[in-house]
């Protein structure tokens, strides 16, 4: 039984094609189609319902130490309102989930996790907590709306005062308002574009959604579904749990070294990572040389020898050619290397290229 987000009725009304995802019923696209939705985010602005994401609070005198122990990144020296991305690992160094930790204030942290992992994460956190900390799943109280694209901030300015908008990427304003509604305004996203994510009490979700769409009419703001969210994150080479990482894949293999602080005194998974040493596989970007589309779970070859598998792949609407990400033997990971990927019995040539595929100018 899938849950509905507070915006379900709005999606149906807007012609959203509804599919089950992460335990929720969400639009994969609207009548405009994935390509137009993708292009709107790259050139103007798009609006996403991401209310399926989970929100978990870490509060109390030992909140920071619990985060330091459970996550691979470090959250010391963060200022109030700052956000930091981190994997959360198991004892074997595999990835339980990847998430964002916001520091609201001392001893008060707001953690955002993937929808499909929320229950697993919460159980994991509760099982590993220590000292004086309250860990609370508040997902059911929150809706989340992402406003993304080069025009996103311009649209937002019509609905809130400039000082409410975080000036830097990965910063958030807590206890603020947009269009008169209480919310957390975070300068983050999953598209590779400028924009914000708005966390708000679920009862305001539909009114906020409508207010944003209305305010962004002139700028070409349109609602976008999960399909465009996926192609946008792929073009920006952002990893997705269950694809580029899972319980067996270490964040070092995914290439998330920046978020794994091996110098930290200890964290869950550190010992296993040290024992394993330098990973022998790594995540690469592939660009199809001729024709054909590569999807996930295809086998990758170098001169007939199997060297790994793809984790995501699609046709990129903005770049205009097919791309894929793959986990392969790192000896074949240099940009320019020509590999082959087997797709339904046919070999498709692909070139290793530097990540990200797309970076905004």
């Amino acid at each position: 039984m899938e849950l509905k987000t507070p915006l379900y009725d709005a999606h149906v009304k807007a012609g959203g094609k509804i599919v089950p995802f992460g335990g929720y019923l969400l639009p994969v696209q609207y009548e405009t189609g994935i390509i137009k939705e993708h292009m709107a985010v790259r050139t103007q602005a798009g609006l996403f319902d991401v209310s399926h994401m989970g929100e978990i609070l870490f509060q109390g005198p030992d909140a920071l130490e619990n985060l330091q122990h459970m996550m691979t990144n470090s959250f010391k020296n963060m200022v109030d309102g700052q956000a930091r991305y981190s994997p959360m690992c198991n004892e074997q160094g595999g990835t339980v989930d990847d998430l964002i930790v916001y520091k609201k204030a001392d001893n008060d942290y707001f953690v955002v996790v993937n929808a499909s992992n929320k229950d697993k994460d919460y159980a994991w956190m509760k099982a590993h907590q220590f000292g004086d900390v309250q860990i609370t799943d508040v997902s059911a109280d929150y809706a989340q709306i992402a406003l993304q694209g080069p025009k996103a901030i311009e649209i937002l300015r019509k609905l809130t005062a400039e000082e409410n908008i975080p000036s830097k990427y990965y910063y958030a304003t807590f206890d603020t308002e947009v269009a008169g509604m209480p919310c957390i305004l975070s300068k983050t996203g999953y598209t590779g574009e400028d924009g914000v994510e708005i966390y708000l009490p679920k009862d305001y979700a539909e009114k906020m959604w409508d207010s944003l769409l209305e305010a962004g009419k002139e700028e070409g703001l349109i609602p976008c579904g999960l399909g465009a969210r996926d192609t946008l994150r792929m073009e920006a080479a952002m990893p997705l749990y269950g694809h580029e990482m899972d319980d067996e894949i270490s964040p070092l293999e995914t290439g998330l070294n920046f978020a794994v602080k091996m110098k930290k005194s200890d964290f869950i998974g550190k010992k296993a990572m040290e024992e394993k040493g330098e990973p022998t596989i790594c995540r690469v970007g592939l660009k199809v040389v001729k024709r054909g589309i590569i999807r996930e779970h295809e086998t990758v070859f170098y001169q007939g020898q199997e060297i790994g598998h793809t984790t995501s792949g699609t046709h990129c609407p903005y770049l205009g050619y097919p791309i894929a990400m793959a986990l392969i033997d790192k000896n074949y990971a240099d940009p320019g290397t020509i590999l082959e990927v087997e797709v339904r019995g046919r070999m498709i040539e692909a070139e290793v290229v530097a990540l990200p595929f797309y970076k905004r100018g």
């Binding site: 189609g33 994935i34 390509i35 993708h38 399909g227 996926d230 024709r291 054909g292 046709h315 339904r344």
Partner: protein
């Protein structure tokens, strides 16, 4: 949604037109709307044999790949190379963007007329 009266349709959502012993095949407007934005098409080569109910090519949207099943058995005598370079033309005009032409047809799938097919899609 368009259902062209002069065409016949298969349960797998291909449209079929027969003219002077040559059968032209494409996918229906309903099929393209269900598939979403198409970005890649794979077609057989001229001279290849196609068989009723078997895949002769595939279409890929941004999200997924779908096989195109042949509504006839015969030999491919022409392919529409334009759709290889412009798969979006199938979304724009599914009944003009034909896929293949087949000759020496020995077998037909059970086909519906436009009215029957429209009712079939509404199910």
């Amino acid at each position: 949604m368009e259902f062209r009266a002069e065409l016949k349709y298969s349960q797998d959502h291909e449209w079929v037109k027969e003219e002077d012993g040559v059968v032209t095949i494409g996918i229906s407007d309903f099929a393209q709307s269900q598939l979403g934005d198409l970005v890649y098409v794979n077609l057989p080569e001229v001279g290849d044999e196609v068989v009723v109910g078997e895949s002769f090519g595939d279409v890929e949207s941004v999200k997924a790949v779908s096989e195109v099943l042949s509504p006839v058995t015969g030999v491919v005598c022409e392919i529409n190379e334009e759709i290889l370079d412009a798969p979006e033309s199938i979304n724009e005009a599914a009944f003009d963007a034909w896929f293949i032409k087949v000759k020496d047809v020995t077998e037909y799938d059970e086909l519906m007329n436009a009215e029957e097919y429209e009712a079939f899609c509404a199910k």
